[in-house]
């Protein structure tokens, strides 16, 4: 199968992720959408690694997974704190800081 299709798929996933961030209200889902964007980048890296014939892209993908895991830890900590304070995981609710 043509590796370019994987690139297209990754672009699609990236867009879905970006739109998810924009339209979803639940902080967890927003966060998951970001993760989707990161993983779409991973897919692109791996596909490009295949097309370019070197391993750099695959190495990157591993690193990104680790980083994403760390991000989840920090992110969930923040989201849970907000949830406990406000009894809601909506990211529209905290809007004291504005103008």
């Amino acid at each position: 199968m043509n590796p370019a299709n994987y690139i297209l798929l990754s672009a699609l996933l990236f867009s879905i992720g970006a739109i998810g961030v924009l339209v979803r209200r639940n902080a967890i889902i927003v966060f998951m959408s970001v993760e989707l964007m990161l993983n779409s980048a991973n897919l692109a890296f791996v596909a490009f690694a295949r097309m370019n014939g070197n391993l750099d892209g695959q190495v990157v993908a591993f690193f990104v997974m680790v980083v994403a895991a760390a991000e989840v830890v920090v992110g969930l900590a923040i989201i849970v704190t907000i949830f406990r304070t406000r009894r809601s995981a909506s990211i529209d609710e905290p809007n004291l800081l504005k103008y």
Partner: protein, 631 residues
């Protein structure tokens, strides 16, 4: 050809000129209350010290031949980055020495006067610290050998002026006036900073020697742009049209400040800038013409405002605008005018300082009242103030042999050398000067007593009258001294150039016509304000008077043109930033399709709207990138 000499002998003290008052300011500011008792005296001492050094330098300079009077002292290398090199270097030549003398000598007198004037002010120490700061910055301005260092002094005097206008912070009007002066001056400063960058890019250097040496190689369009930007800067600092509005409000500061900064020295920095940049204006005729026009407009605006104000200081401020207008006007005339612009600047510095200090002395005796309609018949009560004020009066309206006559007459003559119409305008303005100054003198010293009940006028103490007397002597003889003994035009010629072209009529005709016009103006003033009773309540006045009382609507125009749009756009942008969804939805509609409708319906959450603006911004940037790539 002018030689440039290293600073040796007495000239090696060049940096001390600036360092002395700067050190004074530092000690007074950091010393705090401990210096309250002796601080003011230290302040005076530092300025007197600078004055003594300046006089020694003048003597040393006079001993040298005319080509060997330019001295440069490199204090240290300030900024050297790549091709951009600026030294902290001072330059003393015939032009800067006269400024140094004006600043230090008149400055010293005003410092001494302030000792009496500010005697009871609890913040007297701070006042002297700011004055010292001003003197240091002003000296830096006129001694700099490059535009960037000049800019430092330029901002420094602006800061000192700002602090001193707002010195009586308890008065909200003073704080507002300070802010206004700062803001309007910043507009001028933008002109100067852009001009400096343009100069650097055009000539590859910002020192005066390099720039003026290469003027011939630059194209005229660039030079015109530089000239106009420098004019903008000069207009801001020297209260010229259209940036004149701040000077009248600046009178909220203590009177010695008005005398030193807003009459004698700082406001003339614009004239200095134009005269210093003469090589640029000589090559950029359009810019020079603009200078003439700005000067001429301001001469009349200032004179009209001066005729209508009842506040003695504001009336004098109008007169300052008008007189500086004369200088700017003369500087715009080119080599026939530069020397006389400086000549008038010097005589004006002395007689206007005398007039302001005289006004301060009157206010001192009148419980700080400034309304001339509540003055009258003071000539018997304040004899010394009266006599010295009269010397300044005769000097400013230009009666021979007082100093103003010589300098103003030369400017009018130079104007006729160029063009008879602008010459005639200059004569007419001289007539208005005669009118408003007579009005001021008549309302203050002649006529009937119109004092308020609890006011008991008295002569000021010696510490104030002695500077007045010295300035009055200067107002009387300085013009003659500079012209006949000092040969001012040939003294300055190596720096600013001088030439004279024949006029259509013999010289004495212009002198006589000018004098007649001035005397007519003075008589009208006398008849209106000394022979008739002056009403205590100002009459409504005609349209022009009312306009002039509003500073010819300078503020209103500023509001409409600058202040309102700024605030409006600030409001608009704040709204935009917060409701970015609404704004960006329309922009990104074609990219995210029907997303817009759902977003419009959905509750606006700020974190998400931020994300949307990021996406929108990213898309715009990427599209721009692709467009650039394809084009």
């Amino acid at each position: 050809m002018t030689e440039i000499l290293p600073a040796e002998g007495v000239f090696s003290l060049l940096w001390v000129l600036i360092a002395l008052p700067a050190a004074g300011a530092l000690i007074l500011l950091l010393g705090g209350r401990r210096t309250n008792t002796w601080g003011p005296y230290l302040g005076i001492l530092t300025v007197v010290g600078s004055a003594v050094i300046a006089v020694l330098m003048l003597l040393a300079m006079m001993a040298e031949p005319a080509e060997q009077r330019t001295v440069i002292q490199n204090v240290y290398d300030w900024v050297f980055v790549g091709s951009f090199q600026v030294s902290f270097a001072l330059q003393l030549d015939q032009l800067s020495i006269v400024f140094v003398l004006l600043i230090t000598l008149v400055g010293a007198l005003i410092f001494i006067y302030s000792l009496g004037y500010m005697a009871h002010d609890p913040d007297r120490r701070k006042f002297f610290a700011y004055l010292n700061l001003f003197v240091a910055a002003m000296l830096l301005l006129v001694l700099a050998n490059n535009y960037l260092l000049l800019y430092v002094g330029w901002e420094g005097v602006g800061l000192a002026s700002y602090l001193l206008i707002g010195f009586w912070q308890r008065k909200p009007t003073a704080a507002a006036a300070a802010k206004k002066a700062f803001v309007i001056n910043r507009v001028g400063d933008v002109g100067l900073s852009v001009a400096i960058m343009l100069i650097f890019v055009t000539f590859g250097s910002v020192t005066f020697q390099d720039v003026f040496g290469q003027v011939g190689e630059a194209n005229e369009g660039t030079l015109t742009a530089i000239g106009l930007l420098l004019l903008l800067a000069a207009a801001g600092k020297s209260a010229q049209f259209p940036l004149q509005a701040w000077l009248l409000d600046a009178m909220e500061g203590p009177t010695p400040v008005s005398a030193l900064i807003h009459a004698a020295t700082m406001v003339t920095a614009g004239v200095y800038l134009i005269a210093r940049s003469n090589a640029i204006y000589n090559a950029a005729t359009w810019a020079a013409t603009a200078v003439v026009v700005v000067g001429l407009i301001t001469i009349f605006m200032g004179a009209i405002i001066g005729s209508a104000k009842d506040d003695i200081k504001k009336s004098l401020a109008g007169s300052t605008m008008s007189q500086i207008g004369y200088m700017v006007f003369a500087a715009g005339l080119g080599p026939i005018g530069y020397v006389f612009a400086i000549f008038h600047l010097l005589t004006h510095g002395v007689f206007k300082a005398g007039l302001f200090l005289g006004a301060g002395s009157v206010m001192h005796g009148m419980n700080d009242g400034v309304n001339m309609r509540r003055y009258g018949a003071l000539k018997g009560v304040m004899v010394i103030t009266f006599i010295t004020f009269m010397a300044g009066y005769l000097a400013i309206i230009g009666i021979p042999p007082f100093s103003g006559f010589w300098s103003k007459d030369e400017i009018i003559h130079a104007a006729f050398e160029r063009n008879s119409i602008i010459g005639a305008a200059a004569i007419l303005a001289a007539g208005i000067t005669g009118f408003y100054m007579t009005r001021m003198v008549a309302m203050t010293f002649f006529g009937k007593k119109r004092w308020e009940d609890d006011v008991h006028p008295h002569e000021s103490p010696k510490v104030m009258t002695i500077p007045l007397i010295i300035l009055a002597i200067g107002s009387t003889f300085m013009g003659m001294a500079l012209l006949f003994w000092g040969n001012i035009e040939y003294w300055l010629e190596p720096v600013v150039g001088y030439e004279s072209v024949p006029t259509p009529l013999p010289t004495w005709v212009y002198i006589v016509v000018t004098l007649v016009v001035v005397i007519i103006g003075a008589i009208i003033g006398w008849v209106t304000y000394a022979r008739k009773d002056v009403p205590i309540e100002a009459p409504r006045g005609n349209l022009l008077t009312r306009a002039a009382r509003q500073d010819l609507y300078g503020d209103a125009i500023n509001d409409v043109l600058v202040v309102e749009p700024t605030y409006k756009s600030a409001h608009a942008l704040t709204t935009f930033d917060n409701k970015a969804v609404d704004g960006f939805v329309t922009w990104t509609a074609s990219f995210v399709g029907d997303l817009s409708k759902r977003l419009r319906r959905s509750q606006t959450g700020f974190a998400r709207s931020y994300a949307l603006s990021m996406v929108g911004g990213a898309i715009i940037l990427l599209v721009a990138l692709i467009l650039v790539r394809l084009s």
